[in-house]
Symmetry: D2
Subunit: 148 residues, 4 copies
């Protein structure tokens, strides 16, 4: 799809830590969600954003609407996992991406996550339209391509 092809990708690597394994000798499945967040936040930083940031005097956050992961094979201690985030949709208020997990080129998992843009006020969250400048950075619009 043409539009999808234009949306950004971003990759980080992660060396599996001992504390991430379980007694089955493989990485505990819950940790893939922490890794998804890790590449997401690194992507945000790469385009000049933070997932916890002030914007026009408001505090923006991105609570999760849904998270999913399909597991294709085990990942073990000291494996170097490549995490590639692909933006799949930037909706009015929501942001969706997928993450390809690979080890030495072998796909090991596929993650999917959707967050919603919120203003945080005194511990309360209220969804808002994604501000235009934030949207431009998430979609990799022309304004950003010289940076990436």
């Amino acid at each position: 799809m043409i539009v999808a092809a234009m949306l950004p990708e971003f990759t980080v690597t992660h060396v599996v830590q001992f504390s991430e394994t379980d007694m089955a000798g493989i990485v505990h499945f819950s940790n893939y969600f922490r890794w998804m967040e890790r590449v997401e936040h690194a992507f945000f930083r790469s385009v000049g954003l933070s997932v916890s940031m002030a914007h026009d005097g408001r505090h923006l956050g991105w609570p999760r609407v849904s998270a999913a992961c399909d597991y294709l094979g085990p990942v073990r201690f000291e494996d170097e996992v490549s995490l590639t985030l692909r933006v799949t949709k930037v909706g009015g208020r929501s942001f969706s991406y997928e993450v390809d997990f690979t080890v030495v080129g072998r796909p090991v998992a596929l993650g999917k996550l959707t967050s919603v843009c919120c203003v945080l006020t005194e511990g309360k969250m209220k969804s808002i339209e994604i501000p235009a400048d934030v949207r431009a950075k998430l979609t990799g619009s022309p304004a950003r391509t010289t940076v990436a």
Copy 2:
């Protein structure tokens, strides 16, 4: 559905720990997957199984095929979360369930998880047909109903 109605349900409660919160002041989304596993393992124990058990001289385990969670509202420190596991399918080699997360009766999340029955041998995992006696316990067949 008649069959589904006969499949087991099981509930545990969990008081949110401080270490499960994040700087947004709510529970980090990855912890819901640990809680899903918690009620799953308690369910296994309730029917006389363990997720890490010897069976006919083999070591059985249940690696995850897929995990997903929809988030309906925030959960906070010291909330008492009710986790109700509903078995949704016991396939030839796989086991699927959903978890309803509620706080004081308010739905806060819906989780879905599918695992596959495996024999573990020297760190390798190989899927197998779920043994008949294990299947009977997971499906709450007549042999079990007097226990539950």
Copy 3:
């Protein structure tokens, strides 16, 4: 010591979760610190306090000054761990306790933790004298004994 003998004790139990184990087949050592916090917070609740509470219009918290644990033997999946907190000192601004970790009466670890009472203001922490009513609850002074 007479004074120490009068300080409160408090016990909770914890069933070891699968996600708390590591590939060595035992509980990862970092989890003992989460368990120490768990019994601490349950103790706070038992005396009518919370570790994150409003007090005279201020938000009180208890950041850690030091934490330590000696490990006496392994703890495994599904072990029921008994966690007994013993208050060892309630200083001017600090609160110290030890935790005896046992499994079926067998000592498996000894933890030590010291926190300091702080006021949280706009993300900044400032240590303060422990308020008298909070101190009375932490020390199990007569005012509290009818509650416990």
Copy 4:
């Protein structure tokens, strides 16, 4: 001290993840212990060892005897933490080190950890004398200096 000065040091950096923070807006204290392990394992790799390795047909592991951390100031989301491991003692069966935690040169914590060298057999652990070649690598003896 002359001997101490000859023992190895090793540094890694870590960018604080969102999931490592808690509702107080700072890193949860238990994570410092995971970070200590992280630099320890990276140090092991840097000298050609692994904390989970075959050695003369045996499986060696390093269960913890004691762990401690003093906290000097808060660490926050996206801080880059420098973790410097200093080997403090390589005993007959034990290995001890300290970790200096700094953020932009500011000391934020001091960790201490002691492990014991064990052979793992069928889930049982038995302490052994640290093998000579492993000891040489941990102490940074001449045999190693060309590698580092």
